[in-house]
């Protein structure tokens, strides 16, 4: 530690820190543009010039290392003169068009010019003009003349997003920020450049010119789209969400959010929103009042309970639903006497049900990922499924960690990967067994009998070696591994591997409440919340049956389905089977924010509020319960789903539905409990099966859920849907497989699974394992197909 004096204030700061850091510690503001605490030092704006005693010239605070006994003046005559001079030069080519600038009112340049600049410009000559570039649907560069060349956006791309898409071309007065030959900026984190830009050069394309900063009220919320639980500021004007920006939380999202979190709000204000309850009568949809719709649902459900038994009713919810909604849904179902409730819609292996010690979770704090020195990531489309978590892994790798990947698709993670094993889905288990066996040898332990039979390949040996040499390792299972038909066996092996190398073992959460769903008890086992409120009294105790999980509910169709936020053709593991079950059901009640395809098969549509219009709680991957309030009033007659479920509970005389606020619902679950005690990835009583090498299973499907297809809100966000990540999925196969089919890359193929065939474009991707075809799920183009895993037929179209 060293002592520095800034403006007469003594401050102690770490060795190697800069004058800017020391000033920050002392609570002294030094004006700056190019400096950003998360980015490398550029020192090219010169705004942070300060006077340092014994230095002949003013020095940039952001790039000057603090030394012991240094005396700094930020407001001395020399410093002020330097700052004034820099300000004048920064404004020489700036258009000074604040009144028509979208950044006006929240502009660093405007603020700093007010504080440190002159009142008027002395410059009357011609200013330079920089033409706009088209860099995609999210970021507008219409006014690049405003750019002051701080290069924050360039450094963000290089250092945080991992891909340098913007750069500064040309030199001196001709320097311009641009992308390579008008290519679009495709990073899934690119929206952060809008926040980073200290002037109005990079602005939000969907938001610009729709509101002024001072007209907006900024309300806190939490992202529903991935398991991270990013903290959001939802900006509201006239009861409408105008835009979303990050709220800094170093433990979760740092100061970033993904584009999915930032731009998904567009999906909240679409004409497709359901604003009145609707009933289907005589094949026609009628808008009705709430009481009529709820009476109809209550009556219909009790009729089915009476005639066919409660086990004929099933409830499905998305993991993006709030904790309160999930809790009341399962309570409602169990109150009816049915245990058929599930939120794990894309899961296919339920063999750990009832044997999972507690809710599966990340196994560590999110921030701990940065400190890992060895990582094994199994079955994850990491960048697209967890954009910000991938960023943390990227930072860990930058600081010397080794990332090891076991997956069925070789996506570019935009970071150096130490070892990769890219194999067909039915070989994943075998690869993990190989790693376990090799690791046991490395650690001089006896390998499990179940993995004795496998032959260790070079990739697995290298991964084992990497894991064995680390001190702080982590083994993480991605969405793909969790959706895998052998998910539980994969998890058991992964747990064994982490035990051998002292690693943290965890699951990457697919959505905001992937952990919360378990805590709320929205699973068919455990008879209610894991925070057990034991006395949920069924109306007729004899009706209590062992509940069915999401797959069983569809495999043996039920008479009635209750859908909470679910679009079965897009959200389910096997949409084909799901749609068959929906069409065959006597009654389908869709609680949805949108008028979606449920109009084809549902009987009742109940308009519910998306995350911005309801209060609720999300429990993130790391087990952090974050409650939020509604940021705007529900649109039209939409109501928060927890209220709808509460009234339905009352109508059916189910006990324990006397909640007045969502906080009461949450407290009924969480108060007196510590969430951390309820998290445990261990599975008891499931044996590791002997691992064999996989038999030839024909062409296997590798299904990712594209980043902008994950949930109902994102699927309707117009600008996100214009990005290249949202383009219609094409089949990806190895070039050899294409030659076998006699199809050229870029040609069309027929993809068949179950009863359906769809026509898609095919692309050669020589990193795909032989015998696999990547066909995305969750997209209308592939919604008719069957399960996300398994055999698929690809033919020449």
């Amino acid at each position: 530690m060293i002592n520095v004096e800034i403006d007469g204030k003594l401050v102690e700061t770490e060795n190697g820190s800069t004058v800017m850091d020391a000033a920050h510690k002392a609570g002294i503001h030094i004006p700056h543009f190019c400096y950003h605490k998360k980015l490398s030092i550029a020192a090219n704006c010169r705004m942070c010039l300060v006077e340092v005693e014994k230095a002949p010239k003013p020095l940039p605070a952001c790039a000057t290392p603090a030394t012991d006994g240094m005396k700094v003046h930020t407001h001395s005559e020399l410093a002020v003169k330097a700052q004034k001079g820099v300000m004048e030069f920064l404004l020489i080519n700036h258009p000074l068009d604040c009144p028509i600038c979208d950044q006006g009112g929240e502009c660093m340049l405007q603020d700093v010019a007010m504080g440190y600049g002159a009142t008027a410009s002395r410059y009357s000559e011609e200013k330079r003009i920089v033409m706009q570039k088209n860099i995609g649907a999210l970021i507008s560069t219409m006014e690049m003349s405003r750019c002051i060349q701080c290069t924050r956006c360039v450094r963000f791309g290089q250092e945080i997003a991992g891909m340098m898409e913007l750069g500064m071309a040309f030199r001196g007065e001709h320097a311009e920020i641009m992308s390579f030959v008008d290519s679009s900026v495709d990073s899934e984190l690119a929206g952060n450049m809008i926040d980073l830009c200290p002037v109005g050069a990079l602005t939000s394309k969907p938001f610009r010119y729709t509101a002024r900063n001072w007209e907006l009220s900024r309300r806190k919320s939490v992202s529903p789209h991935d398991g991270l639980g990013s903290n959001l500021a939802v900006h509201v004007k006239n009861n409408k969400v105008m835009r979303v920006t990050p709220i800094e939380n170093e433990d979760i999202n740092e100061c970033w959010i993904s584009d999915r979190d930032r731009f998904s709000y567009e999906g909240l204000n679409v004409p497709e929103r359901l604003t009145k309850p609707m009933l289907k009568q005589g094949g026609k949809w009628l808008e009705v009042e709430w009481p009529a719709a709820l009476e109809y649902v209550a009556h219909g459900l009790s009729q089915i309970v009476n005639e066919h038994g409660a086990a004929q009713i099933a409830a499905l919810a998305t993991p993006q639903s709030t904790l309160e909604e999930l809790y009341l849904l399962q309570k409602f179902m169990r109150g009816l006497g049915s245990g058929n409730v599930d939120f794990r819609l894309r899961q296919s292996d339920f063999s750990a049900d009832g044997k999972q010690v507690n809710a599966p979770w990340l196994g560590m704090k999110i921030a701990e990922i940065n400190t890992r020195d060895r990582l094994l990531i199994v079955g994850s489309f990491l960048r697209k499924d967890h954009p910000l978590l991938a960023q943390r892994v990227r930072q860990a790798v930058k600081h010397g960690a080794q990332a090891n990947i076991v997956h069925s698709s070789n996506d570019d993670l935009l970071m150096p990967v130490a070892n990769k094993a890219i194999v067909a889905p039915n070989e994943l288990l075998n690869v993990l067994a190989q790693i376990l066996k090799a690791l046991a040898v490395e650690k001089k332990a006896t390998p499990d009998a179940s993995v004795q039979g496998v032959e260790v390949g070079s990739a697995a040996a290298a991964i084992a070696k990497s894991l064995a040499s680390g001190e702080r390792a982590a083994v993480l299972l991605g969405n793909f591994a969790q959706q895998h038909p052998q998910a539980v066996q994969l998890a058991l092996l992964a747990e064994r591997i982490s035990a051998l190398c002292g690693a943290q073992f965890g699951y990457l959460g697919e959505a905001a409440n992937t952990v919360g769903g378990y805590l709320a008890g929205a699973v068919p086992y455990g008879n209610g919340a894991l925070f057990i409120e034991k006395r949920i009294s069924p109306r007729r105790p004899k009706d209590v049956v062992q509940g069915m999980n999401a797959a069983q509910m569809l495999a043996s169709p039920r008479k009635a389905y209750l859908l909470l936020n679910v679009e079965p053709e897009l959200d389910m593991h096997d949409p084909q089977q799901a749609m068959t079950a929906m069409r065959a059901a006597d009654m389908v009640v869709a609680l949805s924010a949108y008028k979606h395809h449920a109009t084809d098969y549902a009987d009742v549509l109940l308009p519910i509020a998306p995350f911005t219009e309801t209060s609720g709680t999300f429990v993130s991957s790391e087990g952090r319960a974050q409650s939020f309030k509604g940021t705007v009033k529900p649109l039209g007659e939409a109501r928060p789903a927890w209220k709808v479920l509460r009234v339905l509970g009352n109508l059916l005389d189910i006990q324990g539905f006397e909640y007045d606020t969502s906080e009461e619902v949450r407290d009924a679950m969480l108060s007196g409990h510590n969430v951390a005690d309820k998290l445990n990835n261990h599975v008891e009583g499931v044996a590791i099966q002997a691992v064999m090498s996989a038999s030839d299973a024909g062409m296997q499907r590798v299904a990712n859920v594209p980043i902008y297809s994950t949930d109902a809100v994102v699927r309707r966000a117009a600008s996100l849907q214009k990005t290249s990540d949202a383009s219609t999925p094409c089949v990806k196969m190895h070039g050899n497989e294409l030659r076998k089919l006699g199809v050229q890359s870029g040609g069309a193929v027929k993809v068949s699974q179950g009863r359906a065939t769809v026509r898609l474009e095919v692309q050669a991707d020589d990193t795909m394992p032989a015998g696999t075809a990547r066909v995305a799920a969750g997209h209308p183009a592939t919604a008719e197909l069957g399960a996300m895993f398994g055999t698929i037929t690809v033919e020449r179209a």
């Binding site: 290089q158 340098m164 913007l166 750069g167 071309a169 040309f170 030199r171 992308s179 390579f180 030959v181």
Partner: protein, 159 residues
């Protein structure tokens, strides 16, 4: 695709740097492209980026930063006249005017037959020979007079 000759030259250049610092060879690589083709197209920039494992934009930054990379087709013989202070004092203005008259093109232009290009350059560090120009950034021709320029052009015509 970069030609075999360019690849060989880049490979030789790469030996000068650590294997994880391939980007150090970017300026040389761009020079090799220009030596062979006379100018550097965007496709070439992309090829160099792929070859050196760099982002395309990073190579583009370098290619646009330096004046001596031609980003549009120039003549077979591109004459770059220094117009900095020493040369101007010694009559660079006359040199430019004479070349423009002889070749019938302005600065930054190429003759219709593609044989000559003319552009302005910065100090070549050889002020004792002012006024001067270079041919294709390689050959320095100093102490220019009308006669000497004529003589050089005749030589270039024949080559």
């Amino acid at each position: 695709m970069l030609s075999e000759q360019i690849q060989t030259r880049i490979n030789r250049e790469l030996k000068k740097y650590p294997s994880d610092q391939k980007q150090s060879a970017v300026m040389a690589a761009l020079r090799f492209v220009q030596d062979e083709k006379g100018w550097i197209a965007n496709d070439d920039i992309a090829d160099v980026a792929t070859y050196l494992g760099m982002p395309k934009m990073a190579v583009y930054e370098v290619a646009t930063f330096y004046h001596m990379y031609n980003l549009k087709p120039m003549g077979k013989h591109t004459i770059t006249v220094c117009t900095n202070l020493s040369c101007t004092l010694c009559g660079a203005g006359d040199t430019v005017a004479y070349l423009q008259a002889r070749l019938g093109i302005g600065l930054g232009e190429v003759t219709a037959d593609g044989k000559y290009g003319l552009r302005e350059g910065e100090c070549m560090g050889a002020c004792k020979d002012a006024p001067l120009f270079t041919v294709n950034n390689k050959k320095l021709c100093g102490r220019l007079s009308k006669e000497k320029i004529d003589q050089i052009l005749v030589e270039l015509d024949q080559s």
